[in-house]
Subunit: 333 residues, 2 copies
């Protein structure tokens, strides 16, 4: 039997239990060319909030009544003449929020649990890792000596962005919520400074830690933090719009960056990115992450919760900030 | 005697008569190396609203009690051993809002009234012309076949942006206020379509005239028009932030572009610009404008009012939209 989570309705504001249908389905027998995956870990990402919103985006929305889209890692436990995958393979792909996935394997790829922990295929060497890598190196065009500000800095993407910038010889300031996260950024990840937006004023924090302004702002958050960061741009600064988690559950009009004219004054740019555009370069990023990890130059952390029943309340940790690093849900042993 | 306009106070909202001090000053005798310019035309530009605002920008604000900064063209009528300028030279520079300027000549350059009309040195071959040229060709990275949307399209900058894009083989849609301006864009300047934001809904206008979206949005306006344009970005679109005239007189917090996440979805960029950065390339732009004008490929229009006493009410035409093309004040015969 397969526990699954389906989209019941498009939420207004924060998703709640009524956003989802929990159902237990019988696993169908496999057609020719199909496989059955036992999913172990499900990736919980801020982007998922976007996927349940109606309307045009970089990817089609999840349909009402469909299994909620999610990245997964799991093990192939049955195949019906699949040309590529065999029983015992660990594979990563879009398995969705369910314990078992029946698929023809499109969009899945084999991963090697002896080379890296299974979970890291959803984190540092998965989508968040790729987002951080190409976001800071390609989109932001990071240069040695840049002053880099990162929001959502203790998150899956932000924590890697900051560490890559440190490896490349930059000054890095992170914005995160709460003392524990800020301590983690400085003591564990080697950030130069951290601003605790939940307890400190963002403007005084920026004044204290970015007195010379910033060359790059890597934004996962939007809202008041983006507004604050814009006041600190140096000439030719680059703002990367990776996400806007503070705005994803708004029930009023999304708050635009009211200090955007700082782009004009400082000849700065604000650029959007979607990680899938860099797919062909993922192997290079993975190789770099492996090398940096081995050399002790970069750390990644997963925050893992258990039980598909807990999907909604675990998902909400993304928005309350009640997690550090990559958020993962374990759905099978 | 020299009629001058000085900044009395920093206005909240629209400037009014009390923003300015009108005074009549005696023209001082020239020190060694100085010249006396009889100003003929004064340039009125949206950027001037920014210059009387306090705070850090791309240029120092005009001090309270100082002569209002403005671009001017005029004739040298006296010199005291100036090494470069002689009586009878026509020169262009920062003469300020006054009938006569005494200066050592820094920042002024000789212009040739036989090559182009005096006024055009404040328009097509002056600052607005340079802004349009480098904004659309360099900052927006215009390519043949692009779909280009321009706001403030009947203004000094916007009208040239659109015409350059037409010369380069693009589809061009302008946004302007009122039927007269929209007719002017299509019938006189050769725009493909025009949206009258004062009488039509901006979203239906965009739907009708930009059904395939836009590759470039050249924005002089900000506010609701920027919000609307962002919903129409195509992949890798470029938004040039040249100005935000709808926001310059706001007495509440400036309205940021609430649809800015369209940058993310469409991997688009939003870039600021300041024309002074391109100073070394002005001669190329001027040569191109001369060539295009001679070939009948580009038109420019000045809207000229008279009398330094009318400075404030003429300046306000920029914000009411009650002018077409480059706004100029004639202050001497």
């Amino acid at each position: 039997m397969n526990k699954q989570v389906l989209l019941a309705e498009r939420p207004i504001g924060l998703p709640s239990e009524s956003t989802w249908i929990h159902q237990i389905a019988k696993i169908p027998s496999l057609s020719n060319g199909e496989i059955l995956i036992k999913n172990q870990y499900i990736s919980l990402d801020p982007a998922m909030r976007g996927w349940i919103r109606d309307g045009k985006s970089y990817i089609d929305p999840v349909d009402i009544g469909a299994i909620m889209r999610a990245g997964t890692v799991g093990e192939v436990i049955e195949t019906n003449n699949h040309p590529k995958f065999k029983v015992g393979d660990f594979i990563c792909g879009w398995g969705g929020v369910q314990q078992y996935t029946v698929t023809n394997g499109d969009g899945f790829h084999i991963i090697d649990p002896t080379k890296a922990a299974l979970k890291s295929y959803l984190g540092i060497i998965g989508m968040p890792g790729m987002t951080a890598y190409f976001g800071i190196l390609k989109v932001a065009e990071l240069k040695e000596g840049d002053i880099v500000l990162v929001s959502g800095a203790a998150g899956a993407v932000g924590s890697l962005v900051g560490q890559i910038a440190k490896i490349k010889g930059c000054r890095v300031v992170g914005i995160a919520g709460g003392k524990a996260k800020c301590d983690y950024l400085i003591n564990d990840l080697g950030f130069d400074a951290a601003i605790d937006y939940k307890n400190d004023n963002i403007y005084s924090g920026l004044k204290a830690h970015c007195p010379k302004g910033i060359d790059i702002f890597f934004d996962n958050v939007g809202g008041a933090i983006l507004d604050g960061a814009l006041t600190k741009l140096r000439m030719n600064a680059r703002v990367v719009i990776c996400g806007a988690i503070s705005q994803y559950n708004t029930t009023t009009k999304l708050k635009g960056p009211s200090n955007y004219l700082s782009l004009l004054v400082n000849r700065a740019s604000m650029k959007g990115m979607v990680v899938f555009d860099y797919k062909q370069y993922y192997p290079k990023a993975i190789a770099d992450y492996m090398k940096w990890t081995k050399a002790g130059l970069i750390k990644s952390k997963e925050d893992t919760y258990e039980g598909i029943e807990n999907f909604n309340k675990t998902f909400l940790r993304l928005f309350s900030g009640d997690k550090i690093g990559k958020l993962i849900l374990k759905v099978n042993d």
